[in-house]
């Protein structure tokens, strides 16, 4: 519940202040969003499993975002372009799907 309220506050803050993203940060944004979604789904599932730990959630969120950005950065520097970010999206996508399925099982018992 607290988390949902904080999420809404974050959204409102973003809408009100409309922060501009510096240009060099722009390519990392989409992949950071996917990483953040992975952390959020993992946290929700852990919550439903009854094993939620705030520290793990925060650390996984921050490290996911950082590692995803690092991989995009490395892909740019190595010249493989978007292919490394494709790997990130595939792995995180699988995890998001798995966690979403677990959440669904918890909520609907199906």
């Amino acid at each position: 519940m607290i988390a949902a309220i904080a999420l809404v506050i974050g959204v409102v803050l973003g809408i009100v202040f409309r922060p501009t993203v510096p240009l060099w940060l722009e390519p990392y944004l989409p992949i950071a969003v996917v990483a953040a979604l992975d952390a959020v789904f993992g946290g929700v599932r852990a919550r439903l499993d009854g094993i939620f730990v705030a520290k793990v959630f925060v650390v996984s969120f921050v490290s996911n975002v950082l590692v995803a950005a690092l991989i995009v950065f490395m892909g740019d520097k190595l010249g493989v372009g978007g292919q490394l970010s494709t790997a990130v999206v595939v792995v995180l996508g699988i995890r998001i799907f798995g966690n979403a399925a677990a959440i669904r099982r918890h909520l609907f018992r199906a």
């Binding site: 999420l7 506050i9 803050l13 973003g14 993203v21 993992g42 705030a54 996984s60």
Partner: protein, 308 residues
């Protein structure tokens, strides 16, 4: 199948085990580890004072990230749109400036011609004839009109991304078709020719750039109208009998282009500002005499008849 072959957690199976783990166990292993290290007790027991604010901060950051990413994605599109509009405005402004300069040049040329006619004694038929041939005087008269148009687009437009054109939708008519028609008309004795109302002169060219035909650096697009003034019946007969007419007829049957030609009685072709031709000299004098100022270019019409 990997599960049956796995003896224990051997190091050789680590790589595939990672994939298995990813698919079977998407939850971050940190949660289970945290529970285990807490001795199986409820994790809320192990709560510290910074957990609450940290969670708040992280959730706010997630919300902020989502919104910022969304806004960023949708803000860059209008920026591209404004840049495009700005370019369009600039192109249109420059075109207008070019048109007004052209009109001024024409007015000045008319003034010059008037002054010259006032100074020249008596008969200036020869000059008039050469001005007509060079294209610096508007002409009216009988002639032929040839219409060419691209085939109608396919009934079901392929759902591609904007800006991409499927291979079968690119232009069928090329510069060489129009050039062949024009050359045929010159060869048949046309006195003045215009493509889409652009009068052709001795130095005109018809080229292809990108997907549009350029006539004297001005892009034109289908439908193409080629008008020629001259002996109407002679032009009609010579054109209908020519190879390019047969070729275009075949293209009309096979590719579906529109191809019509007919004699007209009252065609009017506008004039153009004729640029001064450059002549090869001995290197002592400047550029050669211009045709409008009394010099006699020896072969002005025949230059256009040769294939360009």
């Amino acid at each position: 199948m990997a599960g049956t072959m796995r003896p224990a957690a051997g190091p050789a199976n680590r790589s595939t085990a990672m994939l298995d783990d990813l698919l079977a166990n998407p939850l971050d292993p940190g949660y289970r580890l945290a529970v285990r290290s807490a001795g199986g007790s409820q994790p809320s027991r192990a709560r510290r004072w910074w957990d609450g604010p940290l969670l708040w901060l992280a959730c706010i950051a997630v919300g902020l990230l989502l919104v910022v990413a969304y806004q960023q994605q949708h803000r860059s599109a209008p920026a591209r749109e404004t840049a495009r509009k700005d370019l369009i405005v600039r192109v249109e402004r420059l075109q207008a400036a070019g048109n007004s300069l052209d009109a001024r040049a024409k007015a000045l040329a008319g003034e010059v011609a008037g002054l010259r006619n006032a100074q020249l004694p008596g008969n200036d038929d020869e000059l008039k004839r050469m001005e007509l041939e060079s294209g610096s005087l508007p002409v009216t008269g009988p002639g032929v009109q040839i219409s060419l148009d691209e085939p109608p687009p396919a009934t079901s437009p392929a759902a591609g991304r904007p800006g991409t054109t499927p291979q079968d939708q690119v232009a069928v008519l090329h510069d060489r078709d129009i050039r062949a028609v024009v050359n045929q008309l010159w060869a048949a004795g046309a006195e003045a020719v215009a493509v889409n109302h652009l009068r052709l002169t001795a130095t005109s060219f018809i080229r292809f750039a990108g997907e549009s035909v350029l006539v004297d650096f001005q892009p034109i697009s289908a439908p193409y109208t080629i008008e020629a003034i001259g002996d109407r019946d002679g032009l009609l007969v010579a054109f209908a009998d020519s190879g390019i007419a047969r070729q275009l007829k075949t293209m009309a049957a096979v590719e579906g282009i529109t191809f019509r030609f007919a004699g007209k009685s009252g065609l009017r072709l506008q004039s153009v500002t004729v640029t001064e031709p450059h002549y090869a000299g001995l290197g002592t004098a400047g550029p050669g005499p211009a045709p409008g100022s009394g010099g006699r270019p020896s072969s002005s019409p025949s230059a256009t008849e040769s294939p360009r």
